[in-house]
Amino acid sequence: MADAFLKVTGISKDYPGIRALDDISFSVGAGEVVGLVGENGAGKSTLMKILGGVIAPSAGSIELDGIATDRLTVGGSMRGGIAFVHQELNLFENLTVAANIFIGREPLKGGLLRLIDEPELNRRAAPYLKQLGADFEPGTPVSTLSLAQMQLVEIAKALSLKARLVIMDEPTSSLTASETERLLIIIERLKTDGVAVILISHRLAEIERSADRVVVLRDGKRVAELARQDIHAETMIRHMIGRDLKTLYRPPKNPPGKPVLELIDVKTGYRPEQTVNLAVRQGEILGLAGLVGSGRTELARTIFGLDRLRGGEIRMDGAATILSAPGIAISQGLFLVPEDRKRSGLILDFPIRDNITLPSLDTHARRGLIDVGSEEAEALRQRERLDIRAKRTTTAAGALSGGNQQKVVLAKWLSMAPRVLIFDEPTRGVDVGAKSEIYRLMRELSDHGVAILMISSDMEEVIGVSDRVAVMHEGRISGFLERNELSEKAILSLAVGRIAA
């Protein structure tokens, strides 16, 4: 590590009320592959944004080629030879491979006409593609490429920018096994060419294979740095977990009853080759854990009738049912509190009242005409019950805080009779006070016999709220854990695709 060109010392990043990064130090040398691992929300993305110059750290210094600064700019990071291959690729699908690689830096001809010199463009792109062993031409339209090939275009672009460090954020999350293999070989090639790689991945086997060094983050802190000989999945998992979880668990009043919602060999459009089997029982809170991208939201969308069921069967109270549209799911008492409340949960410009009554509007209407008095009564009842902090029910939902917005989404469903409630990340962006109110409410509902399926990426929440946990990995359920088996380690092992320890 004597020739480290990038050194990060004592980096911290504070957001109001939360410290996202706490005193992080690490370095990267030429031709080195550094693995960066940690749970969802451990601070990996924040750290990468700081290296990309997108956000400024609150404290610490960054040293590039011996010159220390307290923050990088986007341009400075690029000139310093740092390039990103993001999870979501940033390519212009309507352009060719070469045009994408040299976007904004096209070779010109024709003087004042500023025409693009296409042959020259393709000539310049060719060596980079060759270096990566790409199986497509510079003139190929990007729209015809596979996801793995598009990643190569991104890497070629990075190389053309004279990148010395390529940061790959979950590059293999949507690749097939053979594509993954090819990418790992390319990482080795980059290494021999002296290009360093920071590899962020939840697939620990890849890290085991490729990384020269691993940095483990947990809760914004660098908890371990492992040298080549110490890189084992077990060790990494041990470092990734291990924080003190506050126990907010409130046990159910009654033992769980009969299954209300059953999924039998359910296939979703997200990973049609996998099947999902699970049952949510009356009066229980079933946590659905897993890493981001494991297919939990897609499963919820399929159950709720937003996406087409690709196979298998959904049963309500033991009887097969076809939930082909949200309206049908709702009529059976199956409701979804979506992940993105601003986009899917609420109509922000609508008053609180109109949002609450939207799914049950027919019950507030006579001969197709809305009875505003009945709506107002319902809205007031829900405001009281859920303690929604708003003076009037005519306030626009968009004017509320995150926690109160989430309560309005809940109020939509509580004004009807829920039998199954699916919560997708119920407390994301919600303050602590509103969080515990939402947990209390979930337990109250389950005690009244509602079956609850809670998708959550927050370990504290999964362990603190669930009666039982199903863990999802790449589109299938990798295991179930009973209350007494719940631990961060057990969940994480299943989430990364290992057998429960």
Binding site: A329, R343, G345, I347, P359, I370
Partner: protein, 322 residues
């Protein structure tokens, strides 16, 4: 229950009207008022129709061509006396609804862009109308007379044209549908945030299709009134640019082309303002070739003023929340 935007529009109409009346007192003459009222009625019906599609987040560009096509069909049916005028009306309205159904299905079920679908409609229906009449002017044969039909569509009571009365009745009904009914609430919800509407269990494609059917159905009614008003239809020019009048009235009346916003009262006021402006051009001796230029300028100024006012209002609100 008048919102501030509509109030401004009303004030603007009164101011423009007063100025015109002062410069040229003929503006207030019974015959001028009656004629203007007739035009407001004719244009208002399909402007209200357009509002439904705009609130759903779409646009309907084929209005003028539909008016031409349905107009020639209607006159042909009535003039040939193969069917009774009442049946002719029903047939024409049914064809209108079918056109709306087609547009709605193409937009909501097949995911085509409303602009493209209705632009194609604009071309197709105009073409069919011209082919249908072999490009000749469609009209009633000399001496033909349909007293009941004529009285109903082009008659007046106490100088009030029946087209205006029809417009008022339609406005009241559609106002209730838009602002008081479950369907109306769903329409605003779909226009504002289709995804959240779907997550709330609303059958969003059905709502969108209904908006296009309502639009084309009302446009068919307008087509009958307009056909009976002009009594002869030259298929290549009849109804030209009418879709733009409708869109202009809706936008002036506070409909957002992004969908989810608008009021019936606003559209009515927008229609009135456009017709008063038209009248102003005639009465003030402005060359009638400038007609469109005057209308365009007023709409632009109106939209600009509205944007500035709401931006200032938003600025005033922010310090309190932060």
């Amino acid at each position: 229950m008048i919102n501030r935007k509509d109030l401004w529009l009303l004030i603007l109409i009164i101011v423009v009207g007063t100025v015109v009346a002062i410069i040229n007192p003929r503006f207030l003459s019974p015959i001028n008022l009656s004629n203007t009222a007739n035009l407001i009625g004719l244009f208002g019906i399909f402007a209200v129709a357009q509002a439904f599609v705009i609130i759903s987040g779409g646009i309907e560009l084929s209005v003028g061509s539909v008016i031409a096509l349905l107009g020639v069909i209607f006159i042909d049916l009535v003039a040939a006396e193969t069917v009774s005028p009442a049946l002719a009306c029903i047939i024409v309205i049914a064809i209108g609804c079918l056109i709306g159904l087609l547009h709605g299905v193409l937009v909501a079920k097949l995911g085509l862009q409303p602009f493209v679908v209705t632009l194609c409609g604009l071309l197709i229906y105009r073409g069919i109308a011209r082919y249908y009449t072999e490009d000749a002017t469609a009209g009633f044969p000399f001496g033909a007379s349909f007293p009941t039909l004529e009285w109903l569509t082009a008659g007046r009571v106490y100088g009030i044209p029946h087209s205006l009365i029809a417009f008022i009745i339609i406005t009241i009904i559609m106002g209730i549908v838009l602002h008081k009914s479950v369907f109306g609430r769903y329409l605003f919800a779909v226009g504002k945030n289709e995804e959240a509407a779907r997550y709330s269990g609303i059958n969003t494609s059905r709502v969108i299709i209904a908006a296009y059917v309502i639009c084309a159905g009302l446009t068919a009614i307008a087509a009958i009134f307009i056909a009976m008003y002009t009594r002869s239809i030259s298929p290549s020019s009849h109804g030209n640019f009418y879709e733009l009048y409708a869109i202009a009235a809706a936008v002036l009346g506070g409909c957002s082309l992004r969908g989810g916003e608008g009021s019936i009262l606003g559209v009515v006021l927008g229609t009135v303002l456009l017709q008063v402006l038209q009248n102003l051009v005639n009465l003030l001796g402005i060359p009638s070739s400038l007609n469109f230029a005057v209308m365009g300028s007023v709409i632009l100024i109106g939209v600009l003023a509205d944007q500035q006012i709401s931006r200032r209002a938003a600025l005033k609100r922010t310090p309190q929340t932060s």
